[in-house]
Amino acid sequence: MKKISKWLILGLLLILTWVLVEHDSFLYQQPVGLVTATKTLSSSDVTDEHGNVDDVHIQQVQIKFLNRSGQIKLENQYTDSQSLSEHYQVGNQVLLTKRSGSWQVVSLKRDSLLAVLLVLLIYLLVVYLRPARASWLLLSMLVNIIIFITALYLDVHIKNINVVALFTITAALLAGISLLMVLGKNRQALITWLATILSTSLALGIMMLVLNLTHHEGVHFETMSYVTQVPAAVFYAQAVIGVLGAVMDESSDIVAGLFGLRRESDQHRFHDYWQGGLSVGREILGTLINVLFMIFIAETIPMVILMLRNNNNWSYILDQIMNLGILQSVVSAIGIVLAVPITSLITAQLLTRGQKYERH
């Protein structure tokens, strides 16, 4: 009975969130409209120079304003592939703007979907972790987001700021705060933090060394998307943050395992801790490498397919589209592998420090 009501509450909560956020247009300064009717004005087949066939449609969309009075009609052109265009349907809500006298859709309104998914995740976290611990985890993520946004602001607003240094410091800070909040203010958190920072720096050091020795051969920073500043610097910053999370995950597992070993008996020697750390690390290294690899490669899929359809060959695509994703995956993997001996060494050293004197 209790279980059923738990899921019933979740269902109601999700519906309530959806309904509420669907009616939040009064919060928007810009016009928000609801698509009330659509009519297809014309459809035609197009074949591009590579022989791809797509259908182009022109639709007339009738939109009723939600946060002011009146309604408008506008024409929208879209293709069946919807690669850059969108097909509007009755019931869609859209953000609008008036450019040189005619109304245009700026974006589909997607905030209710975002809210529903957030509520779903938070509710499940609270059920699994219990409210106290869940709020702690959410708080640590919130703090991390605030620090990260502050760093982004500094990057955008201070001219000539050293991007690599900025995001390195940010990453160290983010790791410190996450560990403090998860493990508390103790030796275990400090050791994990040290190991994380060292492994990440070493992996990036190796990357920079190799890039310098090979004179960036085969690396195309200029292919980065959304470039607003020197791409190489942004890439280093990206690499620091990406590597850090996985390395922190691994280091905390190893350190936690070794502290557990010490709780069982304080007679263990350096060698026991070192071997113990290596064996914990080996177990998790493979799956961790896959986590980042999947994130970095999946992102490139739409662009790769677009390039293939435009008759580009694989070697060009690997070079232009997947280049930085592969580089980032490899560097992260190096960081993850290096974290195993580094964390084991530091922990073993610190846990057995002073032991020698007691024995002799």
Partner: protein
């Protein structure tokens, strides 16, 4: 010499040096998964059914990620079973998210990259958005399932007297720790992957209204939220499966684990 090949060679030797046979298996797994993603792209490009291709290849990727990462067969079986169920749920959720969010394709922010490319290519980009969401979370789901299952087996091995209730309590304690670190891994990974996009949004002073509605950003946030849900479900289900198997089989569960 090509910088990426040099780094890949360094990675290979480090893996062998530090993890030995295990490291070699991990490296092979990584290469195989890279090839499977190639296959996925090729099949989608040839316009095979995207749902079928994604479902089948997601199973293959999970199998490679899990079975090439450890030596303990029962641990891997439970992790694999868990990951399959969780990814099936997430795929359905991704289809729903794509349906309501219309997160497909490119936006004006991509104009530079799209210059000179034909966009009328006859492939439904809605399907691609679903595929990106599903593939992105595979690693995180497999990792969480492996971590909790391996840890619980460790607990059973070390404590001969453990009862079902005791194991359940351990599962919850360990699960909470793993959840915290695994969510952080995903969170930092996504931040790292999207740094240029986030800087772009700030630099061009996007309004708060756009930040919660814009397609490119929402696609990334949705992928991250799906991943976090995946980690949570994975830990939940794997703990339940281990405890359930232990209840039925008792300690015989761990006899065959070390091959």
């Amino acid at each position: 010499m090509n910088a990426i090949s040099v780094l890949a060679i360094i990675l290979f030797f480090l893996l062998i040096l530090i993890a030995g046979r295990q490291g070699l298996k991990s490296f092979i797994g990584l290469v195989l998964n890279f090839l499977v993603i190639f296959l996925l792209i090729i099949l989608i490009n040839w316009q095979f059914n995207p749902y079928l291709v994604t479902a089948i290849l997601a199973v293959v990727i999970l199998a490679i990620a899990i079975y090439l990462s450890s030596d303990r067969i029962t641990v891997m079986n439970i992790s694999f079973k868990t990951s399959l169920m969780v990814v099936a749920c997430l795929m359905m959720l991704a289809i729903v998210v794509q349906h309501f969010g219309q997160l497909q394709g490119f936006a004006v922010e991509n104009s530079d990259e799209l210059e000179g490319l034909s966009l009328n290519v006859g492939i439904a980009f809605g399907h691609l958005a679903m595929i990106v969401m599903v593939i992105s979370v595979l690693g995180a789901v497999a990792e969480a399932a492996m971590a909790i299952t391996a840890d619980l087996f460790e607990v059973i091995e070390r404590s001969p007297q453990i009862t079902v209730q005791g194991l359940q309590a351990q599962a919850h304690t360990i699960g909470q720790q793993i959840l915290g670190t695994a969510i952080n891994t995903l969170f930092f990974g996504m931040l790292g992957a999207n740094l240029p996009l986030l800087i772009w949004f700030l630099r061009l002073r996007y309004s708060p209204a756009l930040l919660v509605n814009a397609k490119l950003l929402l696609m990334e946030i949705m992928t991250m939220l799906l991943g976090m849900l995946g980690i949570l479900l994975s830990i939940w289900l794997a703990s339940w499966l281990v405890v359930h198997t232990f209840k039925n089989k008792g300690r015989s569960l761990i006899d065959e684990t070390d091959l």
